[in-house]
């Protein structure tokens, strides 16, 4: 008996929601970046499960591009964090309010 597709979708949705929660609520900017990675991983699980069940490899290629973009995003995000450390010596998002956001 095979695992139904909707279970995979529910799992990926759960991972994505946990990522959204972490991104919106954590104070540490590094954990926020990790939450973005979590969201992208949830999307990847969904894409690869769909590509298996619909029997089309395009989903896996899309997941491949998502991984490439995730790597680029992590590099840029962590460079921004390092620049922030140098100027402000903090990693907490609620202490950064130069832009009055």
């Amino acid at each position: 008996m095979a695992v139904p597709l909707s279970w995979y979708m529910l799992l990926s949705l759960a991972v994505f929601s946990i990522g959204v929660f972490g991104f919106l609520s954590r104070r540490n900017i590094i954990i926020m970046l990790m939450s973005i990675e979590l969201m992208l991983n949830g999307v990847n699980i969904n894409l690869i499960a769909l590509s298996h069940y619909i029997q089309d490899l395009r989903g896996q290629i899309l997941a491949f591009f998502v991984i490439a973009v995730a790597a680029a995003e992590a590099a840029i995000g962590l460079a921004i964090v390092i620049a922030m450390f140098r100027n402000r010596a903090t990693a907490h998002v609620d202490e950064i309010k130069e832009m009055q956001g």
Binding site: L13, L24, R26, I45, L50, L57, A68, A72, I76
Partner: protein
């Protein structure tokens, strides 16, 4: 029956580990839980007959991105980090939003209709090998997105160097 057991183990481990990543106070612990999470996700990919994606998951995420995160975490003042609250004042709002997202999308899941199956059945992929089938598709039909991905990586590389380097005295 065995496959359902495996799936339930992997799904449970992935959800618990992602909760641990998001709720730990010490960022080093978060990074280490995330390492375990990525290995479990790679196991799930193997389960879906996507062995190349499982290898990429381990090599790129666990081997590359997490090491980058660990480097930056080491720059941080852990003692101050452990003495301060981990959530901002947006914590309850974020939780409500994430819960609402989960409930809304999971209720709409039952109306999902899958597309008709394509030509890449498991037998075809087994016959042609997974990497060959993927590579053929990537270098013919998806050649322009592939080139754009290389440009994105180049921009990320240059951008990271420009952002992180010390200002030169002029």
């Amino acid at each position: 029956m065995v496959s359902i057991g495996f799936f339930i183990y992997f799904a449970f481990a992935i959800v618990v580990l992602s909760l641990l990543v998001v709720t730990r106070k010490n960022p080093v612990h978060s990074v280490l839980w995330m390492l375990l999470l990525f290995f479990h996700i790679a196991g799930l990919y193997l389960f879906l007959n996507a062995e190349f994606m499982a290898a990429i998951q381990v090599i790129v995420y666990a081997g590359g991105i997490l090491v980058l995160f660990l480097f930056v975490v080491l720059l941080m003042n852990l003692r101050e980090e452990l003495s301060i609250g981990k959530y901002t004042t947006f914590g309850p709002t974020g939780f409500t939003f994430a819960l609402g997202l989960f409930v809304a999308v999971s209720m709409s899941l039952s109306s999902f209709i899958a597309a008709p199956p394509g030509k890449y059945s498991i037998d075809l992929i087994k016959q042609e090998t997974h990497i060959k089938a993927l590579g053929k598709l990537l270098y013919t039909e998806f050649i322009y997105p592939f080139e754009v991905a290389s440009l994105i990586l180049l921009v990320a590389m240059i951008g990271a160097i420009v952002l992180a380097k010390r200002r030169l005295k002029s």
